[in-house]
């Protein structure tokens, strides 16, 4: 058992590394645990583990604890950690890699809004080439608490009155070409 778990430990760090572009930053084991990332992160206080802790946990192979945490879904994509890291580790890209890992392996928690919002967003673009705010709302609004729910409705109503919400979904003109283009990247929906 010991031997097997050692192999596993080694694998999780490598598995996550292989999800990043090879040219993006230095490998995670180069982290010196200085904490600049956690100190720079505007969301750290709301995360189960700070970015510094997550890097240490990935390196230590604590796969389940990492994947069960909210940390990588709470990344705001502000890149403050990335530009300040003295070891030039692409920390934001690591958060994205963990999102990718958890989506691909269906390892995210049901009550997280991040994954379902992501899904609705991607579907809308694949269908029309554009985003359309009203169609995204159902992916998250029903997971809100009541007060947030009404706030969202009130906001939408006011924006509508000011002419800032689209009533009809926009779509690009060369949509057929667009969809065929996507199929050359993702082999979905019939012949290439």
């Amino acid at each position: 058992m010991t031997e097997a778990s050692e192999t596993y430990t080694f694998t999780f760090m490598k598995e996550v590394s292989s999800l990043l572009h090879a040219a993006d930053g230095n490998p995670f084991p180069m982290c010196v645990q200085c904490g600049t990332c956690s100190g720079s992160c505007p969301v750290a206080a709301y995360m189960d583990y700070t970015p510094r802790q997550i890097i240490a946990m990935v390196n230590a192979g604590l796969k389940d604890q990492v994947l069960d945490s909210n940390t990588f879904w709470y990344c705001a994509s502000c890149y403050q950690c990335t530009v300040r890291c003295p070891q030039n580790i692409s920390i934001t890209e690591l958060m994205y890699a963990l999102q990718r890992y958890s989506i691909w392996k269906s390892r995210y928690k049901e009550d997280m809004i991040g994954p379902s919002f992501s899904e609705a967003f991607a579907k809308t673009i694949m269908r029309t080439g554009r985003t359309f705010e009203p169609i995204l709302a159902p992916s998250y609004i029903f997971k809100f608490k009541l007060r947030e729910f009404f706030m969202e409705i009130q906001n939408a109503t006011e924006l509508m009155l000011k002419g800032r919400l689209p009533l009809l979904p926009p779509r690009i003109k060369r949509l057929d070409n667009f969809k065929r283009m996507i199929r050359r990247i993702i082999p979905m929906g019939g012949e290439a």
Partner: protein, 138 residues
């Protein structure tokens, strides 16, 4: 002669499963756990068949590998069995929509999870077709 197979798949648990099935069936099996290592292996020595995952690295990099094979005069003759769980992995692949193969001359696509008997049948079939193609030079 023992047939040499290469698996390119980033899921170590899954690879352990199919590798033991193929090992037991008498194939010589090598594994690359990411697309880059996979391409390096393909360029360094010949294989009789490739088992290829789709969603790896930054996205559908399996498709990128298959397209690279098609451009290589030697590698494009190698049969490819695409094994993918992408319908579950990708948010916008709507249920019921097919996934198309057809990246190289000889390829087939099966979706994860694969029954051991189906896996062996597909591998066998593709190897046989490749032999037949070799026997009749175009």
């Amino acid at each position: 002669m023992v047939k040499r197979l290469l698996i390119i798949d980033d899921d170590p648990d899954y690879v352990t499963g199919i590798k033991s099935i193929l090992d037991n069936a008498g194939y010589a099996v090598e594994v690359a756990y990411d697309p880059k290592a996979g391409l390096q292996a393909l360029q360094s020595r010949p294989y009789d068949l490739l088992l290829l995952d789709i969603m790896m690295g930054r996205g559908a990099e399996g498709v990128m590998i298959a397209r690279k094979l098609r451009k290589d005069s030697k590698l494009r003759e190698m049969p490819v069995l695409i094994i993918t769980g992408m319908r579950e992995q990708i948010a916008f692949l709507f249920p019921g929509e097919p996934i198309h193969p057809g990246f190289v001359k000889l390829d087939e696509l099966v979706e994860k999870p694969v029954e051991p008997s189906l896996l062996l049948e597909k591998v066998n079939h593709l190897l046989q077709l490749a032999e037949e193609r070799k026997a009749v030079p175009a």
